[in-house]
C-alpha cells in the first residue's frame, strides 16, 4: 500500500493540475476503476490539499443538487389529462411509420446528385453551344475580312505600276505613293546642306554667332 502511495505521489508531481482536477471529479463521481479509487482514497488521508479539492467538488455538487427547484405537480389529474392527450393524439396514427433519417438523407443525396448531374449536363451543353457559335462567328468574320482585303487589293493598283506610269508621263511622282517629308525635316535638310558647303572660316564665324 505504501508503494502505491508513493507511486501516486510521484504521478501527482508529474501530472499537470488540470488532469488532477479531472481525476478528482471522476473520483467524486465514482467513475474510476475500483483499485484506483481505493488508491486515491488512501492518498486523501495523507494529502490535505487533495482532501480540500475533493471536499470542494463534493460540496459544489451538493449545492447544485440542493438548489433543485423543479416541483412536479402532485395533482394526479394533470398526469391523467396529459396521458389522455397523448393517447388521443396518437389514436389515428400507426406506430413506427417514420422514415429512417439515413433513408431520408440517401433520398436527399440522390435527388441532389441527380439535380447536380442535370445542372452539369445543361451547363456543358450550353458551353458547347457557345463555343460552336463563337467558332462560326469567328470563321465568318475571317472570311469577310479576307473578302474585303481582296476587294481592296483589286481596287488599288500596285506601287511599281504607278511609278512606271508617272515616269513615262513625266509628271511629278504622286505624294501618296512616295510619301511626304514634313516641313521641319525639309528645313533641317537644307540647313545641313548649307553648313556642309561653308568654308572653315565661315563655319567658325557661324559657330561664334550661335554662341553669342
Amino acid at each position: 500500500m505504501k508503494k502505491n502511495d508513493e507511486a501516486i505521489v510521484n504521478a501527482r508531481a508529474k501530472a499537470p493540475a488540470k488532469v488532477l482536477e479531472d481525476v478528482w471529479v471522476d473520483f467524486v463521481e465514482n467513475e474510476l476503476d475500483a483499485t484506483f479509487q481505493e488508491d486515491l482514497s488512501l492518498l486523501l488521508v495523507n494529502s490535505q490539499a487533495d482532501k480540500q479539492q475533493v471536499e470542494t467538488i463534493t460540496k459544489l455538487r451538493d449545492l447544485i443538487k440542493g438548489s433543485d427547484d423543479v416541483c412536479l405537480p402532485e395533482d394526479g389529474r394533470i398526469y391523467e389529462a396529459l396521458h389522455d392527450r397523448i393517447m388521443a393524439a396518437t389514436a389515428n396514427m400507426e406506430p413506427g411509420t417514420a422514415v429512417r433519417e439515413e433513408d431520408v438523407n440517401t433520398v436527399r443525396f440522390m435527388s441532389r446528385f441527380t439535380r447536380k448531374r442535370a445542372a452539369v449536363g445543361a451547363s456543358s451543353l450550353m458551353g458547347i453551344a457557345v463555343a460552336l457559335f463563337a467558332w462560326f462567328g469567328a470563321n465568318q468574320q475571317i472570311q469577310q475580312m479576307s473578302t474585303q482585303v481582296a476587294a481592296v487589293q483589286l481596287e488599288q493598283p500596285n506601287e511599281a505600276a504607278i511609278l512606271a506610269e508617272s515616269a513615262a508621263s513625266g509628271d511629278s511622282i504622286n505624294d501618296e505613293v512616295l510619301g511626304v517629308a514634313g516641313e521641319d525635316e525639309f528645313f533641317a535638310d537644307a540647313a545641313s546642306q548649307k553648313i556642309a558647303a561653308l568654308s572653315d572660316q565661315d563655319y567658325a564665324a557661324f559657330v561664334a554667332d550661335l554662341r553669342n
Partner: protein, 201 residues
C-alpha cells in the same frame, strides 16, 4: 410487470394498451426533465406530449441498443432544445437594472440567494455542458445514459460534465473571493446537508 422493451414490441404489434403503459411509466420523469429546461409547466407538458408522439411515430427506428428511457429522453431533450430556440429572447428593461454600490452587496447577495445564483450560472453554461450537468446531478443518470441521450461518445459526455462543474466552481469562487467552501453548507437545504455529511463520511 413487463419491461420497457417488451412493451415496445407489443406497441409495434399494434397493442395500444402497451403504449398507454409506457406513457404512464415515463411521463413524470419526462415532465421533470423538460421543466428543467423550459421552466414552465405548460410548455413542458406540450414538449412531453410532442416527445411521446414522435416516439410513437419513430418506434420502428428504436433498435433497443440503448434503454427506451434514454431514447425517449433524447427525443425530449432535442424537442425542448428546439422549443427553446424558437422562443423569443427574454428582454430586460434597463430601468429595472440596479447597480450595486456597496462592495459587500454582491457577497451578501451570493450568501442570501445561492440557489438562484446557481440556477442562473447553470443556465449560462454552454448547452452541452448544461445538459450533461443537469442529467447527471438532477436526474442521477449514468454517463452511459447521458452519452446516449446526448448522442455523443461516453468520454465526451463526461468531459462536458466536468467542464460544466469546473466552470461553476470558478464562477462561485470569483464571486465569493476567499470565502471557505464550508460556509456554503449552511445554505444547503436539509436534503443537501444530509448528502454533504454522507459524502464527508
Amino acid at each position: 410487470m413487463k419491461s420497457d422493451l417488451e412493451l415496445v414490441e407489443d406497441v409495434k404489434n399494434g397493442d395500444r394498451k402497451a403504449f398507454s403503459e409506457l406513457v404512464i411509466r415515463h411521463q413524470r420523469p419526462l415532465l421533470r426533465l423538460t421543466m428543467r429546461f423550459l421552466k414552465d409547466q405548460m410548455l413542458a407538458e406540450d414538449v412531453v406530449q410532442e416527445s411521446f408522439i414522435k416516439a410513437y411515430e419513430k418506434l420502428n427506428l428504436f433498435e433497443g441498443r440503448s434503454s427506451f428511457k434514454s431514447w425517449l429522453f433524447q427525443i425530449a431533450v432535442n424537442t425542448a432544445k428546439n422549443r427553446l430556440r424558437s422562443m423569443p429572447l427574454e428582454q430586460v428593461n434597463i430601468d429595472d437594472v440596479h447597480l450595486g454600490v456597496d462592495p459587500g452587496a454582491e457577497s451578501q447577495m451570493v450568501r442570501g440567494d445561492i440557489s438562484k445564483l446557481l440556477h442562473k450560472e447553470v443556465d449560462l453554461l454552454p448547452e452541452r455542458q448544461r445538459i450533461a450537468l443537469t442529467l447527471r446531478i438532477f436526474e442521477d443518470l449514468s454517463f452511459k445514459e447521458i452519452a446516449e441521450i446526448m448522442g455523443c461518445p461516453y468520454d465526451t459526455a463526461k468531459a462536458n460534465y466536468r467542464h460544466g462543474l469546473m466552470r461553476l466552481k470558478e464562477r462561485l469562487e470569483a464571486l465569493q473571493g476567499d470565502t471557505d467552501w464550508n460556509d456554503f453548507e449552511t445554505f444547503l437545504p436539509v436534503e443537501g446537508r444530509r448528502m454533504a455529511t454522507e459524502a464527508d463520511q
